[in-house]
């Protein structure tokens, strides 16, 4: 973190608390769960829609009245919402990363220091936003142009890229979890501990 930044914020009348933020707890880790839930649901519902013929007997057994296109509706609106909310996730993440004061006497599970993890998570986060936006545009073209009349609204390659993105998201999220969990960034109790 840049120490000059704190002074500049003070000049603007913004006081930082023990957690290094001008508010009680970080927003990014909360917003992240919206991105995760929406994106995972988007891909899973498109997978469910694509394999609909196999699921029919089970849905009938459970008396769930559903048509195939409804799964694709959920897939589309979820990825659309994911791409809107993820801008806020990334904005909050960048702001909070600028104010981060990681504990320096520790290493993460993969033997990386706080700086490396922050760099990977920061750059990786913008990359993930790009992937989500690109996939939303791709999904929109499939829904409204290329496959508008196709009972299976998404291409297999789209689902494949979606699953790869989920794996990348898992790795990326694990790195982020290390920042709060191992390096105590923006964690009030961890930041108030005496240096060991």
């Amino acid at each position: 973190m840049n120490p000059q930044l704190i002074d500049q914020l003070k000049q603007l009348g913004i006081e930082l608390g023990a957690n290094g933020l001008p508010y009680r707890f970080p927003l990014h880790p909360n917003l992240v769960h919206l991105t995760l839930g929406l994106f995972i649901s988007a891909i899973l519902f498109d997978i469910a829609g694509s394999f609909f013929p196999l699921e029919k007997p089970l849905l009938r057994f459970l008396t769930i009245a559903v048509s195939r296109f409804q799964f694709f509706d959920v897939g589309w609106y979820n990825i659309l919402a994911a791409s809107v909310i993820t801008f806020f996730t990334v904005i909050a993440g960048l702001f909070e990363m600028l104010l981060a004061q990681p504990l320096t006497n520790t290493k993460s599970i993969w033997g990386l220091g706080a700086g490396s993890v922050m760099l990977l998570h920061g750059v990786g986060g913008v990359l993930l936003l790009t992937i989500i936006i690109a996939m939303t545009v791709w999904r929109g073209y499939q829904r409204f142009r290329w496959r508008a009349d196709d009972p299976r609204q998404v291409q297999w390659i789209y689902l494949f890229v979606g699953v790869l993105s989920l794996i990348y998201m898992f790795i990326h999220g694990t790195l982020g979890a290390r920042l709060g969990g191992d390096f105590g960034i923006h964690n009030t109790a961890a930041q108030m501990l005496p240096p060991s």
Binding site: S41, I64, G184, N187, T188, A190
Partner: protein
């Protein structure tokens, strides 16, 4: 709602497991207790509303009564409260973060 009703039980089970393993100091324990009680309350209400929603869907998939929307809004408020309590447990009291767990082991935090 159907997916949420299934997912919440995973959330509650892991929450219970991790709460049981948490070495919470007294101030943190109080908030953790609120988080636990509110979590179970949400799971019960969520399952009830999902059952109600499935009946409504079978009756008329294009119509929802205002009372239903009121009930889900109430649930939404409980979920926001739960997020706030969970944030306090983790981000303020540092339960299950490595530095705080270490400090508790060394007896620095009571």
């Amino acid at each position: 709602m159907l997916v949420a009703s299934i997912a919440i039980f995973l959330a509650v089970i892991f929450g219970q497991l991790e709460a049981a393993l948490a070495q919470a100091y007294p101030t943190a324990q109080a908030v953790l207790d609120y988080h636990t009680i509110n979590g179970w309350t949400i799971s019960v209400i969520l399952v009830m509303i999902t059952a109600w929603r499935s009946v409504l869907r079978l009756q008329n998939p294009l119509k929802l009564p205002v009372t239903y929307l009121g009930a889900t809004t109430f649930l939404l408020i409980l979920v926001c409260l739960q997020m706030y309590l969970g944030d306090l447990v983790y981000w303020v009291y540092g339960i299950h973060t490595a530095p705080v767990v270490e400090a508790i082991k060394k007896g620095l935090l009571r």
